[in-house]
């Protein structure tokens, strides 16, 4: 019964979303607050219905109801409970339900939000409802997660073992909360364009939604990257895979949006550009969903496997993005840009940030779509990591060099000399760090040393910003401390995010350049050298896991002095259902570094002697910074979000600022 109940709830949610659009639009046109209020009610009800349907699907997974197609294809009775639940969003259909859950959830949150002007809110709720109609309609008619099987199997086909992992169970909810959070920004832009008014107040309403989506997306991407790092056992953390790119593009655009919204909020400038970014950000989210879901990029042929769904998603993308960009082209010329600014000013640095982020997003988009473009021309081709690393690295480096100056510059017109004086210490530290790395780390690598220097520059710049705000070293200590305590959370959030970015840049530059790898075939008792470490294979035993059999290796890691660093236990796991083999990587954290060990296949010697195993090992220096950095950035976003100034009405806000 639950599956049918869920299906009914889905259909009801579709109807309610339609009602939400109609009531909100008619209410707005007739200036009738009762009708728009009813539209908001419909938004809440649609969310409740989707939540019920989602609950039904999770219940079907938890209770292993294999009469539901989706459960039969993606679950198994022997699977641990957490992965039964996570299986609910492990498939195409289930993840679309998660998407709609987030979409209607945000719709309900907007309907519930206070402080928005009545007319803008009505149109925002209407747009959110229209998006709901598109996506819920797609789910009900083309991708229903709760369909029944005529002849249910006794056992399910199970979720792929590589996906049975805590980081990956949490990855889609964060990612989708981020992707779909950008729908609110999109709806606000569409509504404001229809109303013909984009001003400082609008930018202030956009900012909390953009901040929330940006932070959640950052966590989602980091979790995915972390999963790829420790679960796949390839020794890398970012592969410029089309699907990774699909998640990176909306995040880059949201980053640009956050910065341009600040200019619109504080100076009333760049209104049209901010609206454009708001539309772009969610369009790229939808493009990501389309690229991933249709399989069009994995292989051009996979598209033919299910052309109906791919085309439908493309249609949804076309309708939503076309409407957004069409409205923009029509209404944006009406928007006035009120304020001027000098080349040396905070506005200029923020615009520069936007230019670079636009260029980087173009790079990722062009690289991701290049195979499709070439295919349309009848050629074959594509780009890989070397292209992205070179172009994205070069562009970002330029932006990073400017970045610390931004927060130190005043609005409108600044003084280049004054800013350079205040950044002298930061620049000195960056230079020393870069030179030290260049001189001390073997083998010498100039570009990576510059990268580490830029990371230190960002970190020192973020600290300088806080010190400057507190009048550190200029005012008495007590005074500085008092100022520090009264700094708004937004300022802490920004500096923390820039600090995290610096950590990430340091880690990425260092790890990329000085990763060490060593692979040998070892018999029990054999050893290999990995940089300064010494690895000894003590032996390999068989072990039983909850739903797999494992070969468990014991590897002792010692340092140059012979002292034990750790005892690692990498495994090769064979899953009974599906017969797949996966690697369980053993990771020994050592300071900021990881010693990363993979147990490979068993080799039986020809003469029938002792068997041996392939052991792949890496040292990933400073790799912890790569994952810590983005998490600090997300934390900075959350801190900024908690700033009470964001929640005050404009009039009262001016008082709070004074």
């Amino acid at each position: 019964m639950t599956a049918e109940f869920g299906q009914f709830a889905l259909a009801l949610a579709l109807g309610l979303s339609l009602v939400q659009v109609l009531l909100s639009v008619v209410g707005r046109v007739r200036r009738n607050a009762v009708l728009t209020g009813a539209g908001e009610g419909a938004a809440l009800a649609a969310f409740a219905c989707i939540a019920i349907a989602f609950g039904c699907l999770i219940w079907a997974f938890v209770s292993s109801d294999f009469s539901v197609t989706n459960v039969a294809e993606n679950s198994h009775t022997e699977k641990p409970l957490i992965y039964k639940i996570a299986g609910a969003w492990g498939s195409h259909e289930g993840s679309m339900l998660l998407w709609c859950f987030a979409l209607t959830g945000y719709g309900a949150a907007v309907a519930h939000a206070r402080g928005l002007p009545w007319s803008l809110k009505a149109l925002t709720v209407a747009t959110q409802g229209a998006l709901g109609v598109l996506f819920i309609g797609y789910m009900v008619f083309a991708s229903n997660p709760l369909l029944r099987l005529a002849q249910p199997p006794i056992e399910g086909r199970s979720l792929n073992p590589l996906l049975q992992d805590p980081a990956l169970a949490a990855h889609p909810p964060f990612l989708y909360a981020g992707y779909v959070g950008l729908s609110v920004v999109f709806s606000l832009a569409v509504a404001a364009l229809i109303e013909g008014r984009i001003d400082a107040a609008w930018a202030r309403w956009v900012r909390p939604w953009a901040l929330a989506a940006w932070s959640l997306l950052a966590v989602g991407i980091t979790l995915g990257s972390f999963w790829a790092y420790y679960e796949l056992g390839w020794g890398g953390w970012w592969f410029w895979d089309p699907v990774e790119n699909a998640s990176l593009m909306p995040w880059l655009t949201a980053t640009a949006l956050l910065h341009s919204a600040v200019v619109t909020e504080k100076r009333g400038a760049l209104a049209a550009w901010t609206a454009f970014l708001a539309i772009c950000a969610f369009t790229l989210s939808m493009l990501g969903a389309f690229l991933v879901r249709s399989g069009v990029l994995t292989s051009v042929h996979a598209f033919a496997v299910d052309p109906k769904r791919g085309l439908l998603l493309l249609g949804i993308l076309g309708v939503a993005a076309g409407t957004g960009f069409g409205l923009f082209a029509w209404r944006a010329p009406l928007l006035k840009d009120q304020s001027a600014f000098a080349p040396i000013s905070r506005e200029s640095t923020l615009v520069f940030n936007n230019i670079v982020l636009a260029a980087v997003t173009t790079t990722v988009l062009a690289g991701t779509l290049w195979p499709l473009i070439l295919d349309a021309l009848g050629k074959q081709g594509g780009v890989g990591a070397p292209y992205y690393n070179l172009v994205v690295g070069t562009l970002m480096a330029v932006a990073f060099i400017i970045l610390p100056a931004g927060p130190l510059l005043p609005w409108k017109r600044g003084d280049a000399l004054g800013v350079s004086q205040r950044l002298t210490v930061a620049a000195g530290l960056a230079l020393v760090a870069g030179l030290a790395v260049f001189a001390l780390v073997e083998p010498r690598k100039a570009v990576a040393s510059i990268g580490v220097g830029i990371g230190v520059w960002l970190i020192a710049g973020a600290v300088t910003e806080i010190v400057e705000r507190a009048h550190g070293f200029r005012a008495p200590w007590a005074e500085s401390l008092r100022r520090l305590k009264s700094l708004p959370r937004g300022a802490w959030g920004m500096s923390l995010a820039h600090f995290g970015l610096g950590l990430f840049v340091m880690g990425a530059a260092y790890e990329g350049a000085w990763k060490i790898e060593s692979t040998e075939v070892l018999t029990a008792g054999g050893h290999l050298n990995l940089g300064a470490y010494h690895l000894t294979l003590d032996g390999v035993t068989d072990r039983l896991g909850p739903n797999y059999d494992a070969q468990h290796g014991v590897i002792r890691v010692t340092d140059a002095a012979g002292a034990l660093v750790c005892e690692a236990g990498p495994e090769r796991r064979t899953f009974a259902t599906g017969g797949q083999t996966t690697s369980k990587v053993a990771i020994c954290p050592k300071g900021l570094d990881d010693i990363y060990i993979v147990l490979g296949e068993r080799r039986v010697a020809d003469g029938g002697g002792a068997s041996s195993w392939l052991v792949r090992s890496y040292v990933h220096p400073w790799v912890h910074l790569i994952f810590l950095g983005p998490l600090l950035m997300a934390l900075g976003g959350a801190l900024s979000l908690s700033d009470r100034r964001l929640r005050l009405a404009p009039g009262r806000r001016r008082e709070a600022l004074a």
Partner: protein
């Protein structure tokens, strides 16, 4: 997620199938390093966007052996690349070469950046230049400067 998962799982399975055999390495570490650098920019044609350095598909293995052989025979990396593209086309290179067909790919991001900078500088110039009077404003100014009021000036 499905496509990515499929891609990654597919790749991971290939990875497990047969791992890089230390026995196949070239004896000269410098030559091996040159070969390795080439592996990293050569596409494994049957895998999902992986280089032959990452992939353990049989084709990747064969390509590694061919490249090692050529490096050992004293060919330069440029010659090896030329050999690979002659055999498989540009597709085999993960870093697309600078060619007319790829011009847009390489130049596109920088063009977007330059366009943005151009717009920004246009804005500075507009802000600096005092806008000339519109015909309406000029007329009103003329009317104010003459003794007559604006209505009489229209005669």
């Amino acid at each position: 997620m499905t496509a990515r998962r499929m891609a990654l799982i597919f790749g991971a399975l290939l990875c497990l199938a047969a791992e890089a055999d230390p026995a196949e390495r070239l004896a000269d570490p410098a030559a091996e390093a040159r070969a390795r650098a080439l592996f990293q920019e050569t596409r494994c044609l049957v895998c999902q966007g992986q280089s032959i350095d990452d992939s353990e598909a049989p084709l990747a293995h064969d390509l590694r052996q061919i490249i090692r052989g050529q490096i050992a025979a004293g060919h330069s990396p440029g010659q090896v690349r030329a050999f690979l593209t002659a055999r498989y086309g540009d597709y085999v290179l993960l870093r697309p070469p600078l060619s007319p067909a790829n011009a847009l790919l390489w130049a596109g991001p920088f063009l977007v950046g330059l366009l943005g900078l151009g717009l920004l500088f246009g804005r500075y110039r507009r802000a600096n230049a005092t806008p000339p009077l519109s015909s309406d404003e000029a007329e009103r100014l003329a009317a104010l400067e003459s003794d007559d009021g604006p209505r009489q000036s229209g005669k």
